[in-house]
Structure formats: C-alpha cells, structure tokens
C-alpha cells in the first residue's frame, strides 16, 4: 500500500514552479489506479515522486507505513526495489539481450547467475516472450519491448508496478494486449498498479480507481465507474470528450 499525504513539489529553477499542490492519494493492495491528465498537468512529477526519484517539498509518501522522506542511501535503494517501473520509452539496455535485460535488476541485487536466469525465464513466460530470450531489443517490436520491460519490472517481486504512459507509443491493437497483460499481472501476481496516462481509454479498460490531475492538483478522484458516470470537473468532461474546446 502506498499513501501520499498533502504532497507538494516546488521547483526553484529560474522561476518558482509549483508542480504539485496538496496531492492526496492512497493506493490499496490490488488497486489499478489511473492518474490521468493533459501534458504539463504534473503527471511526470507525480511519477517521479512515487518512483522515489524526487523528494517532496512538503507532505509525506508512505510505503507500507514507512515514510520515504526519512530514508536515505541503502534503505532508499531497497525501497526502490519494491516498486517496479515501466516507461513509455521502454528504457531497455540496447547492448544486452532480452534475458540479460530481465536479469539486470537481479544482478544489481547480487543474485547468482543461474538463479537469476531461471527467474528471468519464468518472467519471460509470464509476458509470453520465452522464445525471444536471446534476441536483442533492436530486433523486437514496440509491444515486445514493453513486454520485456514489464518482465524486468517484475524481477524483484515488487508490490507495485508504476507505469508511465506505457502504451502511448504503441498502436491500438498492441495497446490492448499490453493492458490485458497488466490486468493479468494484477490479478495473478497480486501486484497493485499505478498507471499514468493521457488516454481515457486506458483508464476505462484497465483501472478500478482514477485521479484526474490538472495544474498540479487532483480535480477529481474515486472509483472509475463513478467518475465516468458523473464527472464533476470540466477537465474530466473534456478528457471524456463530453465538452469541446480548451479548459482554462
């Protein structure tokens, strides 16, 4: 379970930017939580905070009751291993084959070669790519690369899978199959999922809960069914295609 309380993130670069303001979010075990918003709404900062790459300016992020802002060094590294992340751009190691890519997080943890290869093969079976173990990323399609990335993200048996626009670079058919895979993982491996997206279709197809983010704050959040049936904010209506034009 991950609990975010009153999270704010301010960047002090050449001017002060309030990227996130008073975010509250609780992801229960088993949830598939969609965070949807337009470009520049604060989605990326949100992701970087949950991924423990960015320390909040104020507020707390708790993973299983443990406040991450109190952690540093090795403890932080251990905590990071409990959250698997997949990215829009896959971020695979191009000089390693598929098997070695999936082995990578296990290698970082110091698992021995035979054990990690066995584990990696099991993961490749889950994502349906066991026959591509010796292939290199350049030889794979976008969907296959994302499957490798998913297998890699699962290597440390994470409690949560954090997905950053995982299907935005994929065609609609491949998107469907990736979303189906994520759903299976959620159900079979009991991994909760947070998925950051700008596509309402992804939320509808996959998520049980959703938060709509706009200008750094959540304008609406709750069960997908409720939000879809009775959208309250203009941004949500816009994302649902119920209104046209720009929202100020």
């Amino acid at each position: 379970m991950i609990k975010i309380t009153n999270l704010s993130k301010t960047f002090n670069t050449y001017k002060v930017v309030e990227a996130l303001k008073n975010i509250n979010l609780t992801v229960e075990d088993g949830d598939i939580y969609g965070i949807i918003g337009r470009s520049g709404a604060g989605k990326s900062t949100m992701l970087r905070c949950i991924a423990l790459l960015e320390m909040p300016t104020s507020g707390t992020i708790e993973v299983d009751g443990q406040d991450i802002s109190a952690l540093s060094g090795k403890e932080l590294i251990d905590l990071r291993k409990r959250v698997g992340i997949i990215f829009q751009g896959y971020n695979l190691l191009m000089q390693r084959n598929v098997l070695q890519n999936v082995c990578f997080p296990l290698e970082l943890s110091g698992m021995d070669k035979a054990a990690r290869e066995q584990k990696a093969m099991e993961l490749l079976q889950i994502v349906g790519l066991e026959d591509k173990a010796k292939a290199y990323p350049i030889q794979l399609s976008g969907g296959q690369k994302q499957r490798v990335a998913i297998a890699r993200a699962l290597a440390n048996d994470p409690e949560m899978l954090l997905c950053d626009e995982p299907t935005s670079a994929l065609d609609s058919f491949t998107t469907k199959s990736i979303l189906k895979l994520l759903k299976e993982i959620n159900e079979k491996l009991n991994v909760s999922i947070v998925i950051i997206t700008h596509e309402i279709g992804v939320v509808k197809a996959l998520c049980n809960k959703v938060a709509v983010i706009n200008e750094g704050t959540f304008v609406e959040q709750g069960l997908v069914l409720d939000v879809m049936e009775h959208p309250q904010s203009d941004v949500t209506k816009l994302l649902l295609g119920m209104t046209e034009g720009e929202v100020e």
Partner: protein, 222 residues
C-alpha cells in the same frame, strides 16, 4: 627498384614497428589514465549521476589545459619528467611519456562524449531498480557505450600516430624520424614518400579494423 627496397626495407620495417610500439603503448597508458578521468568528468557533471561542481570544474580545467598545449611544446616541457621515469628524454621508449600525457586528456574527452550518448532514461530506469552510482557506471554507462568507445579509440590511436611522427622529428624514432632524416636532411624524397605511404596505410588499417570491431559488437545493428 629491387636495390632500393633491399637497401631500405629493413629500415622501414623497423621504423613501422617503432611507430606502432610508441602508438600502442601510449594509447594503452592513455586509456588506463583517461578512461577513469572521462568517467569522473561525466559522473560529476551537473547533469551527471553524482554532481560535484568543484571537482568537476577542477578536472575539466586540467583536461582543457592538457588539450591546449601543442604536442611539440609539451614534449620539451615534460622532458625532465621523462628523464626521471625512463632515464633519458629521447628515443622511442622515452617518447611514450609525452605521448601518454598528451593523449590522456584527449581520451578523457572522447570517453565523456561516448558516455553522454547514453539515453538518460536508461540511467534513470537503472536507478529506479535500485542501482548504486558505481553499478550505473559499471553496468550501464560503460557497457552500453562500448561501440562508441571503440570508435573513439580509433580517433585517439590515429591522433597518436600523427603525434608519434612529430616526436620522431625530435629524435623519437619511428617513421617520422625516417621521413625527416631522409626527406629533409638527405633529399631522398623516394624514401620520404614511401614513409608517408606507410603512415597513411597504418592509419587506414586502424580505422577499418576499429570500425569493424565496433560494428561487430554493436547490438543496435540488426
């Protein structure tokens, strides 16, 4: 023609061997020193994985100074240091010292360039998987940039061939020495031209071989 060859062949072979020896050994030392230096400059950069402003500034400054001193002058300046290490300041082995000193900052920059080609997203992904900075260097930055490092090494080695020829003119031996002695001092232009042809051939071979290796091991090529 036969007479010309028998007269000069062994000399040219020896000169080539000396040039390759100077170039090879100094390239090796330059990489032993320059590779960690290049990694340090990349890692401590403000966009690097462990920004350290002051250290980065100092190292960058030293590298720039090293790169801005013309090689001929560098050779003379470091002569006392060369004598300290090798025992003498002229000769093939002695030339390796200034060659290494000249090539080290060059290598550092080449390495930095190669490492900077790595997608930032991949580095960040490794970090989210719990990689330490050391693991990012050893398991991501270096292995992912090997093809680029090899292409950079070709540039370094070829530059060293050029430098070694320059050193030859100052008593360093090798093909440069032959070219200067025969061409400039004895007006035996045929020997000088033959020397040039050999140098050009060496450079071409280095380029082709390094390119082939880089291509062979680069997994981004289908």
């Amino acid at each position: 023609m036969d007479e010309f060859l028998t007269k000069n062949l062994s000399m040219l072979l020896e000169g080539s061997a000396e040039t390759l020896y100077m170039t090879g050994v100094s390239a090796l030392f330059a990489y032993i020193l320059g590779l960690p230096l290049g990694v340090l400059v990349t890692v401590t950069d403000k966009n690097g994985i462990h920004p350290m402003k002051t250290l980065n500034g100092i190292v960058g400054w030293i590298v720039n100074i090293g790169r801005s001193i013309p090689f001929v002058i560098l050779m003379l300046v470091v002569a006392p240091f060369t004598r300290l290490i090798v025992g003498k300041a002229i000769g093939t082995t002695a030339t390796i010292v200034p060659l290494t000193i000249a090539a080290t900052p060059f290598v550092a920059r080449m390495v930095q360039q190669s490492l900077n080609e790595i997608d930032q997203g991949v580095v960040e992904a490794a970090r989210t998987m719990g990689a330490t900075n050391m693991q990012i260097v050893r398991k991501v930055l270096l292995p992912e940039s090997v093809p680029s490092l090899i292409r950079g090494a070709a540039v370094t080695v070829i530059t060293l061939v050029g430098y070694s020829a320059m050193a030859g003119a100052l008593g360093g031996g090798g093909l440069g020495d032959i070219a200067v002695r025969y061409g400039m001092q004895r007006y035996e232009y045929d020997v000088m031209i033959l020397t040039l042809i050999i140098i050009v051939a060496i450079v071409q071979i280095i380029q082709v071989v390094f390119d082939l290796i880089a291509k062979k091991i680069d997994k981004r090529i289908r």
